[in-house]
Symmetry: C2
Subunit: 111 residues, 2 copies
């Protein structure tokens, strides 16, 4: 059984709760981009994008690679897996419990 670190999950889910950040992650699919390239489609300032990237980085949803004056930003899909595992675990857990509850109720009805 996986042990989830509270802080880690706080950061991941918080990062995912903002539509701009989800959009950035989406745009990053599989290829590296510079900060400028990431910012380009958005109407907000570069400073704002920079902050969003910091939040994504804190959550370890992205990695950065510095090369001269540019930075290359890329996804870290491993982290998304953490969130996925947390959710999947509880989803399963709850579904099992709910089913157990249903069975119990049926039993009560039929006897």
């Amino acid at each position: 059984m996986v042990k989830y670190k509270t802080q880690e999950l706080n950061h991941i889910f918080h990062a995912l709760s903002d539509p701009t950040r989800r959009s950035i992650l989406r745009d990053l699919g599989g290829r590296e981009k510079t900060v400028g390239q990431i910012a380009q489609p958005y109407r907000m300032s570069l400073a704002a994008i920079s902050k969003h990237l910091k939040v994504l980085e804190m959550a370890r949803l992205i990695d950065r690679r510095k090369e001269g004056s540019h930075q290359f930003v890329r996804l870290n899909p491993e982290t998304l897996k953490t969130a996925n595992e947390w959710i999947s675990y509880y989803e399963q857990f709850w579904n099992d419990r709910l089913e157990a509850l249903r069975n119990l109720l049926e039993e009560g009805d039929s006897t």
Copy 2:
């Protein structure tokens, strides 16, 4: 392909970003509880728990059933599925892209 509603995802991920709320969801596994029962293990006030429940309700992660002066709160696992689907979709999407990228690079190396 599923279409995810922005607001819905905002609410779900925001709700999940707080450890108290995740803990409440965990405690609710499969059985209904009253607000008082939910609050019991926590050191914070009932008012604070009430607010957390409102956030979870807004995200449709829980449902409520009123019965006299009590309320029964229960999970809505359907919503967790929404979050799970979003994450799984992008995880897959990214992994595919990353693999494509890797293949491309290998090709470049070997020829």
